[in-house]
């Protein structure tokens, strides 16, 4: 069954949206009209330029309300979440000792030139985030926070040398697609080194979505507001599932995983 929806202003299906933008033109009444026509060309109806003014030499700012004729079938949208395995720190620790039977080795870093460790620190540092302890505090995780500006080559070498089970790559800076480029490089290098299937590969950052992560070949992506326990639970469950699958297939030669 399809459920078509439109933006809701104050009446069902009125389709009302708000937009604001800058045009590189000196303000005039013609500039207001240009803004209106531009929004109309975007496909909106009932366009009202409610604010238009000069903000600098050669630049004008507009606030516009308009109605979209478009609608969307929400039921048809798939965006699987990686945050569905709700477990507390204690639950994760006992899950790991029962199902995996050894510590999970996890490494995280801000890759490329990104120096903003706020995300990776929130997940890994003892202190954690919003009262949810970081992975360093978990008994059943051996956690390595490599910090900022780590080259993907170094992260992959580290994973190889230390037999890392799960890798967390963080990107806060997204300018000119640098995050996508770095995430892609990491996934490709792991593949080239034959390590991709051995690790749970996770990306994180304020602009990361789980959907984007799966498109990049990651096992999961965690965006803003993620709690450390959500990442820990995902890693634990994924590793346990893989171990189970491998036991079923009687795959040997990779002790411990």
């Amino acid at each position: 069954m399809s459920t078509l929806v439109k933006p809701y202003g104050d009446t069902m299906n009125d389709g009302k949206v708000q937009l604001s933008f800058t045009l590189p033109v000196e303000w005039s009444e013609a500039a207001d009209e240009a803004a209106r026509q531009l929004v109309a060309k975007m496909g909106f109806g009932d366009v009202q330029v409610v604010e238009g003014r000069r903000i600098a030499d050669g630049f004008s700012f507009f606030v516009v309300y308009a109605a979209t004729p478009q609608s969307i079938d929400v039921e048809s949208i798939k965006a699987p979440s990686a945050r569905s395995h709700a477990m507390s720190m204690e639950e994760v620790d006992s899950f790991v000792s029962e199902r995996i039977g050894r510590k999970i080795r996890i490494a995280g870093a801000c890759i490329g030139t990104d120096a903003h460790t706020v995300g990776i620190d929130a997940i890994l540092n003892m202190k954690g985030y919003k009262g949810d302890y970081g992975l360093e505090r978990y008994h059943m995780f051996e956690t390595h926070n490599l910090g900022s500006q780590i080259a993907v080559e170094d992260l992959v070498r580290f994973a190889k040398d230390r037999g890392i089970d799960a890798l967390l790559a963080s990107q806060v800076v997204t300018q000119k697609g640098s995050d996508i480029k770095n995430f892609t490089e990491l996934a490709e290098l792991l593949e080239a080194e034959g390590l991709r299937d051995r690790v749970v590969l996770i990306c994180g950052g304020p602009r990361v979505t789980n959907l984007m992560a799966s498109e990049l070949g990651y096992d999961a992506g965690f965006g803003r507001g993620t709690l450390p326990s959500e990442v820990a639970a995902f890693v634990a469950v994924t590793l346990a599932d893989r171990a189970k699958a491998q036991t079923r297939e009687k795959v040997t030669g990779r002790p411990g995983v």
Binding site: T113, K127, G147
Partner: protein, 525 residues
């Protein structure tokens, strides 16, 4: 609006800060770094790049053996000046082209080197004094709006786009423009050369980029009838060199923290301590206001818990800066509005901390940083949090006010974001301009008690650091929960002990001229 706080405790904090910094200063006096030596060459006029785009200052300093560099680069370079009769720029080019090696001139007497250097040292210092005088005269002719000085960043990666953004922001009311550096730059052990049009999360700090932006801001300053300041970032592996470039190109402020690189960029602590000292001596001489980076403590840890550490860092930064010859008027100590917006009475705590810093450092041009950590994609809420930050700033008389961006958590600011942010600040600071003068804090109330607690916590922390020694305290993760060892981190191989014959012609000249005319060219008209 005055908080009742324990003056004796403030005095004890300053005593502890002095006890913390004194042994580090002894270490600094006995050491130099490759970046200090490269700054000496840059001051003399060496610039440009050699083969493989290696900057000439790097190429020359790296050509000296580890043993010989203990004398500093000035003597061997001065000998080559004496023998070749070239000026420093031409000599630098010739060495870059492989025509000379400094080792060819080792037999030349030191006295000849010192004599050959002297006119170039004097010319460099005269140039810097000239730029300082230029600033003073422009500030007189083109007075700034009253503080808080509205400070915005530009960060497109392309210096020419940055220029457009900077001019637009100035017209909207910005009084200080910061060009954020490309994210990797603090860890580069060289300064890139020439105008740049690509960078990530920012634009490379190069001397050419400084010059392009300065020219654009001078032009818009004349047009607006008020001086627009320019700032950049020294912290990193090249503090002395960036301080040099900033002095030459008349930047007005520089981010320059005595511990930021150690804690937040894993730069070796010895390297940072030596580098910050020489760079601050230069900043002092060139009339540049430093901005310290205490806000970083708050973005990585809880702002309520970290308040004593912020204050402790302010005391330490102040002490380091005084010892580099900086007057209070050039010490822009940092703080930030980073308390979780969900915390009941969080605004009261922010007010307490901002006012406490104002009272403890009455002559310092305090730098107040906007909320970043708790900003989200909800730009509407973000704009509101910024409004309370703006109110705190104007109430407590902060001097340098980094405008918060409603899109802080989303992207480097759009041109329109910057204007909305400046309009927010102008509205609040105008409508509440004298609010702080009209109210008093309830004695013994929440705000006053909070300020007293922060000060007490700071005193205890500083005492602990003093008893351990600063390097050991950092090794024991007393700051920002970050542990750094004295010989670990980046850039340690660029630190060396000074030989008995160490010679740095700028150091003596800078030292003898400290705390001079700073009060004459105060930033605010």
């Amino acid at each position: 609006m005055e908080l009742q706080v324990d003056r004796a405790s403030i005095d004890r904090c300053r005593e502890s800060a002095a006890a913390i910094v004194a042994p580090v200063e002894e270490f600094i006096a006995g050491h130099s770094t490759v970046s200090v030596e490269r700054a000496v060459l840059r001051l003399l006029g060496v610039d440009g790049v050699g083969p493989d785009e290696i900057p000439l200052p790097n190429l020359i300093v790296d050509s000296i053996s580890a043993h010989e560099r203990r004398a500093g680069v000035a003597l061997p370079f001065g000998k080559a000046l004496a023998e070749t009769g070239l000026d420093p720029a031409a000599l630098g080019e010739a060495i870059g082209a492989g025509q000379y090696r400094l080792a060819d001139f080792s037999a030349t007497p030191d006295a000849a080197a010192i004599g050959a250097l002297r006119p170039h040292v004097e010319a460099a210092l005269a140039h810097i004094r000239g730029r300082r005088e230029e600033r003073r005269s422009m500030l007189g002719r083109l007075p700034q709006l009253p503080p808080p000085l509205l400070y915005v960043i530009v960060a497109s990666g392309n210096i020419y786009e940055d220029r457009t953004a900077a001019v637009a922001a100035s017209e909207a009311g910005a009084q200080v423009i910061a060009v954020i550096r490309s994210t990797g730059q603090s860890l580069l052990d060289f300064v890139p050369f020439g105008p740049t049009t690509e960078g990530f999360g920012g634009t490379y700090a190069t001397q050419a980029n400084f010059r392009i932006m300065r020219a654009a801001l001078d032009e818009v300053s004349e047009k607006l009838g008020r001086y627009v300041m320019l700032t950049n970032y020294a912290s990193g592996l090249c503090m002395p060199e960036i301080a040099t470039m900033a002095a030459i190109e008349r930047l007005d402020m520089l981010l320059n923290d005595s511990m930021y690189g150690i804690l937040f960029r894993d730069i070796n602590m010895k390297r940072t301590f030596v580098d910050q000292h020489f760079s601050r001596m230069l900043n002092a001489y060139s009339g540049i206001i430093i901005n310290t980076g205490e806000d970083n403590y708050l973005t990585t840890a809880d702002a309520v818990e970290q308040a004593p550490a912020v204050l402790a860092s302010q005391f330490i930064n102040e002490e380091f800066a005084h010892r580099a010859g900086m007057p209070d008027e050039q010490i822009g100590l940092g703080d930030a509005y980073e308390i979780n917006p969900d915390l009941t009475d969080g605004f009261l705590y922010q007010l307490a901390q901002a006012q406490l810093a104002r009272q403890i450092f009455p002559n310092a041009p305090l730098k107040y940083m906007p909320p970043t950590k708790h900003m989200t994609g909800d730009i509407f809420k973000g704009h509101l949090i910024d409004a309370l930050f703006n109110l705190t700033s104007v109430m407590t008389g902060q001097t340098i006010h980094l405008c918060g961006m409603l899109t802080e958590a989303i992207h480097t600011p759009f041109l329109g974001d910057r204007v909305l942010s400046i309009e927010n600040a102008r509205y609040i600071m105008n409508t509440a301009r004298h609010f702080g003068d009209e109210i008093v804090f309830r004695p013994g109330g929440v705000i006053e008690r909070r300020a007293q607690d922060v000060l007490a916590g700071c005193e205890v922390l500083l005492e602990r650091v003093a008893s351990m020694g600063l390097m050991h305290a950092i090794d024991a993760a007393l700051f920002a929960d970050v542990k750094r060892s004295p010989d670990g981190g980046r850039g340690f191989d660029g630190v060396f002990e000074r030989g008995e014959n160490y010679y740095n012609p700028f150091e003596d000249a800078l030292r003898s001229s400290t705390v001079r005319s700073a009060r004459d060219d105060k930033v605010t008209a």
